[in-house]
Symmetry: C2
Subunit: 143 residues, 2 copies
DNA sequence: TAGTTTGCTTGCATTCCGCAAGTGACATTC
DNA sequence: GAATGTCACTTGCGGAATGCAAGCAAACTA
């Protein structure tokens, strides 16, 4: 278990604090998968992501869990499997992710559906409310 | 000049695209210094930051410039010095940074002044307008 | 012109990362 | 119930990135 000793407690700056938990190329992608897609298992992240290595994924899931961004529980129907789920703290990253999506979509071509991007921009708070509702009441797979 | 070959063009996901440009522990801190503090020079970033090494800073400035997030010009009054400045694309990260600050301030103690955090949360668009105005008309050092 | 400042660059040791291969617990199939 | 497959990792290894200290040329200052 590699330690992130050099990155710990650099300063009290809120941005620096956030980067200690999310300042790498992978953590936010895992949060994205948990928030916007239905992915909740190890192999789900492995395959549907951008090609993260399994050891890195394992390490990032541990860090995100110890940062309080997600929880890890055994699947009830399959004891091999773990179910990863965003905490409220992790869910509170939704505005950040939405702004990042809007920023990327504004400054270059992306795969994000233009209709969704437009909705994010024009009905930002409503979009965030819906994402949160889907998290509170899972199973509601909104378009 | 180390290359970020392995991180290039992982997918068309807008979050992945953003992380290719900002997905490390330092880039966003440089953007923060440019956006919220008056820092614009190499040694300014070096000293006021969280202790970035000079070679890393040099590399990150190059990357941010080639990503179109900042510009680099000679200082007119001191030809040794370069002046780094956010582009419009870099400035468009302001909503992201504000959301990150709000997220950090909500989930733990930070050094951010509570009054500023409250203003960011309650008058978000006005706060963003002011940050942008200070960028458009430099010299206006608002509190 | 001697000395300082500025923005890097270079060497080097340490750490991190991606890839491939393995492992043990569990599930499925026959 | 034995063979096979799945799941969530773990390990080994080579290469890349990082942090630290030192050095450097150009430009400014005394």
């Amino acid at each position: 278990m590699p330690q992130r000793s050099s990155r710990a407690a650099r300063s009290g700056c809120p941005i620096s604090i956030a980067l200690e938990q999310l300042g790498d190329p992978w953590s936010l992608l895992i949060v994205r998968d948990l928030m916007f897609t239905g992915l909740r298992t190890f192999n789900g992240f492995l395959r549907a992501g951008e090609g993260i290595a399994s050891n890195i994924l394992s390490d990032r899931l541990d860090r995100l869990e110890s940062s309080g961004l997600l929880t890890k529980r055994r699947d009830r129907t399959d004891a091999r499997r773990f179910v990863y789920r965003l905490t409220a703290k992790g869910m509170d990253l939704a505005p950040v992710l939405v702004d990042i999506i809007l920023w990327s979509a504004k400054h270059g071509p992306t795969d994000a559906p233009p209709a969704t991007v437009r909705e994010m921009r024009r009905r930002r708070t409503r979009f965030l409310r819906r994402v949160r509702a889907r998290w509170t009441h899972p199973g509601t797979r909104a378009a």
